[in-house]
Amino acid sequence: MTRSALWAAVFGALVGSFAAAVGYTAHYARATSYLSEDPKACINCHVMNEQYDGWSRSPHHARATCNDCHVPHSSIFAKYYVKAEHGYRHSKLFTLNSFHEPIRANAASHAVVIANCIRCHEAMTREIRLAAPGSSAHTVSGGIDCIRCHAAVAHGPTR
């Protein structure tokens, strides 16, 4: 065996091991489920169990899943960008065990949720949003935070 063939064999074995380790870890972590719309994907890491339980008892259960509220629906790029960003951030925080308790939506996620409230309830909320102080064409909710008052609508009773 020539020296370069030996190198190629060693290198090939390493690439193969790497691909296998990544592939099996992804399979074990049910990585592909994150591409789906199934709310069960959100409880893969168990931290969201309470949110999932709350949602299953909530009024929105029959009509809306996690993705309906938590990812943008403006374009497929926006949707997958947010999914990827969430996926990266959540898995990093969960792996390093460094997330805030109780779990809090960050400003960007919060904006996505509000935009989705309005996406479905556009006509009903139109007057309210226009009447809100400081409302402008640029703020989708007119500065109103729907879930401050309607906190239990999507995640149900918390106790």
Binding site: R3, S4, W7, A8, V10, F11, L14, V15, S17, F18, A21, V22, Y24, T25, Y28, A29, C45, H46, V47, F94, T95, N97, H100, E101, P102, R104, R148, A151, T158, R159
Partner: protein, 492 residues
Amino acid sequence: MTKLPSRSLIFLVAAVAFGIGTVAAMALYANIAKRKMEAESTVLKIADITETTIDPAEWGKNFPREYDGYIRTADNAPARFKWSEGRPPEDDANAGKAPSKLVGDPLLTTIFDGYAFAIDYRERRGHFYMLLDQRDTERVKQKPQPGACLNCHASNVVAYREVGLKNGAAGSLADPLFSENGRKQLFTGWEQVNHLPYADATALVKHPMTCLDCHDPKTMALRVTRPAFLEGIANLAASSEPVPHLPSIEEWRRGDKKTPYDPNTLASRQEMRSMACGQCHVEYYFKGPEKRLTFPWHKGLKAEEMEAYYDETGWTDWTHKRSGAQVLKAQHPEFETWSQGIHARSGVACADCHMPYKREGALKYSDHQVQSPLAHVNLSCQTCHNYTETEILSRVDAIQSRHKAMLDRAEQAVVDLINAIEAAKAAGATDAQLAAARALQRKAQWRADLMNAENSLGFHAPAECLRLLGESIDYARQGTTEVAKLQMAARR
């Protein structure tokens, strides 16, 4: 040695990179596997836990996280105000003890004159110290106390049952606690221990409150094991006082009421998460020569309802040395004050704030380091209140500062009344003439003392606590006016 060709160098670097990548992927796999395992099995049974396993370290083998928190109650929780703030350290004889409240608040020495609390009264500390501090206090050393004190400061379930068995109760320690035999053993032993001298009673126990006192050893379900609470809550249920924060009692009242209300069979888990604490964090007195530990809830949980019960039964903790008034000593009425607050009314239990859920990886458990919620605002308050930690702390601070300012005024008003009565007595006022002022001292002192003894500085029920302090000041000043009227009449 031949020089490596540059192609080999690239190969080598790439191979090392893939090697590191493989290790990283495997490490990630291990982490995910660990998280999955944590989520699935919360308990690894190592030790066999029974009704006679008193030692918390044994329970700790199966529940290491809960045990760890329990042991950490030795760390003192932060408190907003300490009565001892800003005063010099005590002498060597008091090293290792909690700071004295009497030194921090000299008014208390006047308020408790003639009673054991004027001898020694210290800051509260974590559960870890409950038995140590009780054995160590000058109140117990200098004034003989009954075994009833053991009810709240020690793990007493097994001790009570053993005494019960010696005194003729049937069965054995193997009986489930709430079987007919077990219950009889518990109550008989408790009744016997209540009137033992404290020194004899405390020799029966080794540990402060432990796992067994709140948990069923087989199912880990919460339970109430203190006979005094079982009697007290049954008396409360039998009263007509509305208790919307304890729905199982309201439910029992709608039933046939043939058997007394029993929290161990009727209360919801959420109610038990307060009742377990209410076994000890309550107002009480030692009834009759048998020193039966009794919670004064026969008319309700409010200050004036407990007072009405004491007035009706003619109970007095001691006669005030300076004023001669027949006064009451309030204990630590957290369960009662919590009952008057918005948190109780909204279904929030003691454990929600003082033992919030914690997470280690995917594992969720209740923090057993029972302490002030201010030590973990994120876990305790922010679960429901969507505000920043700074905002929440400033709200708490507003409530507690207002409360402390009013408490100081109420105690000053009570002391002024005591001084006025004492002066009038020295000037020749008769008992009959002083009766009205003394009755007002009893009322004023009861309210101020309830608030001093309460561990929350008004937070458990802000409006109710300020009401009581307002009433205290009013009664005390009315009393001072009564004394002034006497003096004016004498001058004429």
